[in-house]
């Protein structure tokens, strides 16, 4: 199919339809409103379920119910709204139900702003929900990559019985780009959802229960061990990253999402000045691509972490780097976007940026 120009949020919605979404439950919040607006029309027209809930809390629990019933279900929100959903997200992870959560980040903390930010890296990868759990978190850098990953995310969620979060900043939500909706999706063997609560007449002799309660500590520990084994498998299979300009670099930039795109331009500018800089671009934030750091040549002068925050992914860079190289940080926050020249400057003055 020919490319079309589409706004990021609408592309998220259409990609979800292409990915086979059966139901959407959500609550309005800027800057993601075009997602529910688009779906309210097109999902209902397709005979599927769209419902505007009374709150984010309610929306995520509607997702819980429909996911437990075996349907492909999603919600979308932005920073303070994702904060409200954390309770339900923990339960969904605990009950091992598949779903898609789209998080379009804005500035914070609190009500913050409605401008683009990457201040919810911790929220996505560490979670605000209780307990030992992980979401599978993808952070695409363009609308095209967002479409591709959303189309695939229901398969991934179903395969692992685990919620998937697609994490973008408000710029990806609000901008328009030329995109192709028909790029192929990796085929996966998906087991039947024989665990879904569809009524015992559909699975005689067995009651299906969606539940995260294990009062017996031994049973809960076994559940935690089981979840952890699953996360290890996810780490083995779903770690995604891109290595850019990885040819005898002086410095390494680590950046994701919109910041990675800005850094791409900075790398080109630096190349013209004879400074070779490579980039590790994590696409999955959980699992974090620690293995990419093993590919960094020994003689690099340092690693510059670039984020639209005051430094959150920085923690994972420090863990992955494990003391091998100097690590520096460059960040803008609150809805401020740097131009590539600022990253060029940060590389040139790397020593002033060193954190550890």
């Amino acid at each position: 199919m020919a490319k079309v120009l589409m706004k990021g949020n609408e592309a998220i919605a259409l990609a979800a339809i292409k990915g086979g979404v059966d139901a959407f439950y959500g609550y309005p919040i800027t800057p993601q409103n075009e997602v529910p607006e688009y779906l309210s029309k097109h999902l209902l027209d397709a005979g599927k379920v769209f419902l505007q809930a009374e709150s984010e809390v309610s929306a995520i629990n509607m997702v819980y119910g429909a996911a437990g019933a075996g349907k492909r279900v999603m919600t979308s929100s932005s920073s303070p709204g994702i904060a409200l959903k954390q309770e339900g997200i923990s339960y969904i992870a605990g009950a091992e139900l598949p779903c898609l959560i789209v998080s379009v980040m804005r500035g914070g903390p609190g009500l913050g702003s409605i401008q683009p930010s990457q201040g919810d890296y911790y929220q996505a990868t560490r979670g605000g929900g209780n307990g030992d759990y992980h979401l599978i978190v993808f952070a695409p850098e363009s609308i095209q990559e967002t479409i591709d990953v959303i189309k695939e995310s229901f398969d991934i969620a179903d395969y692992y019985r685990n919620p998937v979060m697609v994490l973008v900043d408000g710029l990806i939500g609000q901008m328009m780009e030329s995109v192709d909706f028909d790029r192929p999706v990796k085929e996966r063997f998906l087991p039947e959802k024989d665990w879904a609560t569809t009524g015992t007449k559909n699975h005689p002799g067995r009651r299906n229960v969606a539940n995260s309660l294990y009062l017996d500590p031994q049973a809960l520990e076994q559940h935690n061990i089981h979840l952890n084994e699953k996360y290890k498998l996810i780490k083995k299979n779903e770690t995604r990253f891109e290595l850019i300009n990885f040819d005898n670099p002086e410095y390494i930039i680590v950046a994701y999402g919109t910041m990675a795109r800005i850094a791409r331009s900075a790398i080109e500018m630096l190349k013209k000045e004879g400074i070779e800089v490579s980039m590790i671009r994590p696409i999955s934030l959980f699992p974090y691509p620690e293995i990419a750091f093993d590919k960094i040549p020994e003689n690099v002068k340092g690693i510059l972490t670039c984020e639209l925050s005051m430094g959150q992914m920085l923690d994972d860079v420090l863990i992955a780097n494990n003391g091998r190289h100097k690590v520096g940080f460059f960040g803008r926050a609150g809805g401020m976007l740097p131009d590539p020249e600022e990253i060029v400057d940060a590389i040139k003055n790397f020593n002033e940026r060193v954190v550890k």
Partner: protein
């Protein structure tokens, strides 16, 4: 074609966002890459509406740029805000119906078009932005008349199909104005 970084700015209601989107739609139709996004950060202050557009036949990297190749300024605050951030061999198009005459700068061609006056002569002030589009296309040659017309038809849809003609006339009028000025932008 090198990537073109384009800043379009003016008051809300002057068709600024639409101007930018038409460029991004046209790029997409011509099977190259288009990117559009509305104002961000401190740009959201000060009473101007503006958007950034990038068109390129290669993958578009940073959506954010410091210096524009082209600035299309519909009012004075926009010109003042963005004229200092121009790339080498840049082009500034401004609305000379509301902005006093401006001189070209070193490495930046500056062209004024009285878009409000021309649109009023055509009988519809709302097509002032398409007068600007005509002038812009005449200078940059970014997109063909066929591409732009197809996009305008698509945006206006069936409901506003009767407005296609006046928009086309506005684009022609903008082109003619620049031709008469005799300025060229390579």
């Amino acid at each position: 074609m090198d990537a073109k970084n384009i800043k379009v700015a003016g008051f809300g209601g002057q068709g600024v966002m639409m101007f930018g989107q038409i460029l991004a739609y046209s790029a997409t139709k011509d099977n190259i890459n288009g990117l559009w996004f509305p104002s961000y950060g401190p740009e959201t202050r000060g009473g101007t509406a503006n958007c950034s557009v990038i068109v390129s036949d290669k993958q578009i990297n940073s959506p954010v740029f410091k210096n524009a190749d082209h600035l299309v300024a519909f009012n004075l605050p926009s010109l003042v805000k963005f004229e200092e951030h121009m790339a080498e061999n840049g082009l500034i198009l401004y609305n000379s119906s509301s902005i006093d005459d401006q001189k070209s700068k070193e490495n930046v061609l500056v062209v004024g078009v009285p878009i409000n006056d021309i649109a009023n002569e055509l009988g519809n002030i709302k097509v002032a932005n398409m007068v600007m589009m005509g002038a812009y296309l005449q200078l940059t040659k970014l997109f063909s008349d066929e591409t732009i017309e197809a996009i305008i038809k698509k945006i206006l849809g069936e409901r506003k199909a009767d407005l296609v003609e006046i928009n086309k006339q506005a684009i022609i009028a903008g082109k003619e104005y620049v031709k008469k000025l005799g300025v060229k932008y390579a």
